[in-house]
């Protein structure tokens, strides 16, 4: 027996390359390529925002952000998000309920139409509102006659933001609620719960993470939207400049610290979004 065991021990731990393994050099090359790419395209930009924002020190950074125009831009950005996110959330819930809980003709067309704003260039999303409410637009004369300003004013900004963030909540909820089916809700209804109670106590707890996720993405886009808002805003400093527009204006005026200080807030928003997103995915992954 010993004679048989001895030679075997010498070959112990002989590793073969598994069928699904790539050769080591391939692995290392691909990992290096990926990491360099990500470093160059994702981490470097973030680092640059921070370094440029603080290029002239804390004080300059603070001054750039507390300057009245910057403050107004931040306020306007928050206001636009504050109006659009709840509206699109309600829409997302209503449309997901109608689409996933009922059968009706034209359902798939409706689902496609909800996604439509995603395939429209942000600039076009702004242009359509100028065509509707601008001085030469569809309602232009009527608006001027009644002294209502939509374009180059806050309502235009809100409308454009509504348009570009329109599908975010709905498209998170629809696939999830479709997959979930309505058995639980039917059970609740059969036990005598009212429709509203069923929604609050049965549906909502099941979709809350996906809902939060949709709201999060909706908010990030609402606060960060540039193209559409840029068309309808008119860039009036202190009045119709959102934070992204303030960043643009400052950058074009070679006010690097102001531009990057603004950018740092938006980048921070992006980081918070990503962190929360990972958290929600983790939460949902655990739950499902």
């Amino acid at each position: 027996m010993n004679a048989l065991v001895q030679p075997v021990k010498q070959f112990k731990k002989e590793q073969i390359q598994h069928a699904t393994d790539d050769p080591r050099w391939v692995r290392y090359t691909l990992i290096s390529v990926s990491l360099s790419f990500i470093l160059l395209f994702l981490f470097l930009p973030l680092g640059l925002v921070i370094s440029k924002a603080f290029a002239s020190g804390w004080q300059a950074y603070w001054d750039a952000l507390s300057e009245p125009d910057a403050q107004a831009a931040i306020r306007l950005t928050v206001l636009a998000a504050f109006i659009t996110v709840p509206l699109n959330t309600i829409f997302g819930l209503a449309s997901a309920w109608a689409i996933t809980r009922f059968e009706f003709p034209g359902k798939s067309l409706l689902t496609t139409l909800i996604d439509l704003p995603f395939s429209v260039s942000p600039v076009i999303s702004g242009v359509i509102f100028v065509l509707l409410f601008g001085a030469q637009g569809w309602f232009g004369e009527w608006l001027i006659a009644h002294d209502i300003k939509v374009i180059f004013a806050v309502p235009g900004i809100v409308l454009a933001t509504l348009f570009v963030t329109f599908p975010f909540v709905a498209r998170e909820l629809i696939p999830l609620m479709q997959e979930m089916g309505s058995e639980e809700e039917e059970a609740a209804l059969s036990l005598g719960a009212s429709g509203w109670t069923t929604f609050i106590k049965v549906s909502l707890p099941n979709i809350k993470w996906a809902l939060l996720y949709g709201v999060l993405l909706c908010n990030a886009r609402a606060m960060g939207e540039f193209g559409a808002v840029s068309v309808v805003s008119g860039h009036i400093r202190g009045i119709t400049n959102t934070l992204p527009l303030h960043v643009e204006t400052s950058y074009n005026e070679y006010n690097s610290v102001a531009a990057f200080a603004g950018a740092s807030i938006l980048a921070g928003l992006a980081i918070v979004t990503l962190v929360l997103k990972s958290f929600l995915e983790w939460k949902q992954g655990r739950r499902l």
Binding site: V5, F11, K13, Q15, I16
Partner: protein, 348 residues
């Protein structure tokens, strides 16, 4: 081609999936690796194939050491549990794959490939499906295509992982017989993994019983059934009544015709068909009563109850042909006399 497995061990973390396995499989056999789930049988099969590497030990195919060889250089055919057919290729292209990836020097011409593929598809009786995609086939058809694909490269050894595991019961029955016949025709050394003892007994010429990373017994199906090496094998292969040799049981076994010998072990395993049942005579003192019975097709399984002194009781199962049961004219609650023809002895 013969297979020699020498001292193979494999750990997953602390868990020893295989513990110094030694096994020799002669040329041309159809071997079943049989064991409960988690016993290491699939791991062993994958190690033989080269899909997994062992921590130690060596694999010889036809006397040639293949331990360090990549799976693509071992000359084995592997049939996966869920078939792993290439879903983007037709049945024909699936079977032709192994021939088409050969080196230019060895690769047959397309006409030869076509001829060979059609021959194989005829062998598995599915030539009419050659232009279908895997998603359009039934489970049994996929299984046979997977086999044809593995055979195309003329492997010296055929390895099948739970070949009937994913199939409906009726299809499974047919395919078992078909596989056995195919093996008779081709005579390629084959190993298949299964957790179903009936399947192993029916299909294989040799059965290897694995448990917790050990080989418990190796032998012909009849051999293993009639002479189980230990309590695990006895219980795993077929059904058995287990009796601990306490004083009460020893006395009772004697009356049932079995002489108890301490030296043979402290547990008796009795196959249901080794128990003869008849109606107790009026003067018999047999305490055993008939509780119930079930039809198992040609056999009847009877449930027997033996009350014990301490107030509890034990259930025993016996099996007999339908005909005989009818002759006995037994009713529920009847007292019966037992004669035990044979018992296996083990130490627990």
């Amino acid at each position: 081609m013969s297979i020699l497995i020498e001292n193979i061990s494999k750990h997953f973390g602390q868990f020893a999936a295989l513990d110094h396995i030694n096994l020799e499989i002669p040329d041309g056999e159809l071997v079943a690796l049989l064991g409960p789930s988690g016993c290491g049988k699939t791991t062993l099969l994958r190690i033989i194939a080269g899909l997994e590497s062992a921590d130690e030990g060596r694999i010889f195919l036809s006397g040639e050491d293949k331990t360090g060889h990549h799976v693509s250089r071992r000359g084995i055919g592997f049939v996966f549990q869920h078939y792993a057919l290439f879903r983007h290729m037709t049945v024909f292209d699936n079977v032709a794959f192994g021939l088409r990836v050969k080196d230019k020097k060895e690769r047959p011409s397309e006409t030869d490939i076509a001829k060979k593929v059609h021959n194989l598809l005829e062998l598995v009786q599915l030539d009419w499906l050659h232009d279908r995609f895997p998603d359009q086939l039934s489970g049994g058809q996929r299984q046979r295509i997977a086999l044809a694909r593995a055979l195309a490269v003329e492997p010296s050894v055929l390895l099948l992982d739970e070949p009937f595991g994913a199939l409906d019961a009726s299809v499974r029955k047919d395919l078992r017989q078909w596989l056995r016949n195919l093996h008779k025709e081709l005579h390629v050394t084959s190993i298949f993994v299964t957790h179903d003892q009936e399947e192993a007994m029916e299909v294989a010429s040799q059965v290897v019983v694995l448990n917790k990373g050990h080989i418990e017994q190796q032998g012909a199906p009849a051999d293993i059934y009639d002479h189980p090496a230990n309590a695990f094998v006895s219980k795993f292969i077929g059904q058995t009544n287990v009796l601990n040799l306490n004083e009460d049981n020893v006395i009772w076994l004697k009356t049932a015709g079995i002489a108890v010998d301490d030296s043979k072990g402290n547990v008796a395993h009795i196959r249901p068909h080794d128990i003869d049942v008849k109606k107790a005579d009026a003067d018999s003192d047999s305490p055993v009563t008939l509780k119930d019975w079930q039809h198992l097709g040609s056999l009847i399984r009877v449930e027997l109850y033996r009350p014990q002194d301490n107030g509890s009781g034990t259930y025993l199962f016996a099996e007999m042909p339908n005909e005989r049961f009818k002759l006995l004219q037994l009713n529920r609650g009847d007292r019966v006399a037992l004669h035990i023809k044979h018992a296996h002895w083990f130490n627990s």
